[in-house]
Amino acid sequence: MSKLIVSEIGPASSVQDGGRHGAQRYGLTPSGAMDQLALAAANVLVGNTPFAAAIEIGPFGAAFTAREGAVRVAVAGASRNTDISGSAVALDASMTLADGQTLTLGFARGGSFSYLAIEGGITGEPMFGSLAVNARAGLGSPYPRPLQAGDQLQTPPASGAPERRIDLAAPPEGPIRLVMGPQDDEFSEEEKKLFLDSEWKISATSDRMGYRLEGPIIKHLHGHNIVSDGTVNGSIQVPGNGAPIVLMPDRGTSGGYPKIATVITADLGRFAQIPAGKSFRFKTVSMAEAQAEARNFAQLLRTLPDRLRSMDQFDLNIEALSDANVAGAAVSAVDARTWQIPSPADALAPD
């Protein structure tokens, strides 16, 4: 076995995969990658199944060192400065770390999460078929908590397969798409219009449980308490203070605040990548359109291997890449100390 040593890592970084499904009826939330497309792209690059466990790296930098053999990895997701022992390398591509070499990733630029997949996967003990970290429930393997410097991940040695890059279309621009409901009737037409017509920002006190939105206050029609019911990834609940929270993969499985709308499946990853402080808008679509987009998204995930290209078809302009990296090095989207579990009682108190 080879090892990938976590040399440096910021908060909000953990082992994640396609998630742990089937036990929401017992209060166990699925967890899993915030951006499933980026997870799948990284995995496909090193020949893994799309939803194998990988390292989800939060907005801050990280460094990984190969030990006891070479390790083949791939990084996809948010843009970052990336280098191996000082030489810039491309994202959305596989790469092999020789024994002792260090891969260094800078701050996320124009996104929040990156995925580092390891050829052969991460060795761990699945619980409910998943290695995904859910710190609250004590689940996740090899560490049931976010990663820390010094952690070691066991992995099969690099195969020596030729490196690949993946040709991903630029992510769609434009508003984050929603279907209204399930409790949009708890809001007046004016408040729904305010919600849909306003510009929003993601608060820095967001995390894998939920993204808090900054914008106008959304008022309820009949008060903010409903009888607790089930939630999904992308549920937009409006608590008593009128500041909406979009529920993310570590959400509570039930909640007692009215849910005005739900982010469509195809836009969940794109939404998760919006950096704190950047403005965005919502837009409603019909159920038929949302489901057509969900089918297109599933088709994209299924056909990722068709988008693999050999590296010699790729003109990597290292100089331009280095310039971009230097230019981006000063950018810090959010403050490390704020990207933590905020434990606000209004999001967490059960009903």
């Binding site: 209060g27 429930a137 004590g138 279907v179 409903i226 019911d229 089930g230 509570g252 909640g255 967490l348």
Partner: protein, 243 residues
Amino acid sequence: MVQTLSAPRILPSGDSAITVEFSRDIDDGANKRVLALDRTLANEPVPGVTETVPTYRSLLVHYDPLLVDFDTLREKLLALANLPVPPTIKTRRWRIPVVYGGEHGIDLEDVAKTLKTTSDDIVERHVRGDYRVAMIGFTPGWSYLSGLDNSLHMPRRQNPRLLTPAGTISIGGVQTGVQCLAGPSGWHLLGRTAVRTYQLHRDPIFLLEPGDHVTFSPVDAKTFAEQDRAAEGGEIVAELMAA
């Protein structure tokens, strides 16, 4: 006799889940219909349905939009929801030991004061109850029980606590609950149980099912401590009663 059932509301929860809502309020009849539909879907799987999550008054049905679309599933669920509730759904009955008051239930005295009675009387009223697991949610194993004596209904705390102990037995609104993991809560803490409703590396990992019946039995602090050690070692500690 033919039962006439009102049709539930079918609410979209995004493009991959449907909320089947039987009532807007906490309602025993609605909860029974939720659990009946949940059971129907378990017994006769509907293609495309991936997971169901019962709550007080609605069933959340997760599905794969590649396998079934919203309109088709809505019609299917409406038809299944209108089947009569089976007269007897076989459920289990658990007795859960609780140490009440003192450091284990720091709100017991305040609850007694608010309700103008004694702590012993509150414990007696809580122990007398015959409860049903209406839903499990929020965090693993957090079991919400219906059947709380009317005289114990009281509003939640103004300021929820950010951390309450594992195994807390509490009351809030019209409900009582068994909380498994340490975590935030706005409810009034009456006591603690050594029973783990969720424990990894134990068979079963989740002890209670929605629909199970629960009663509580008071134990002293010494017994709680012993049971807590046994439970840590993987013992279930709760008693499974004859049906």
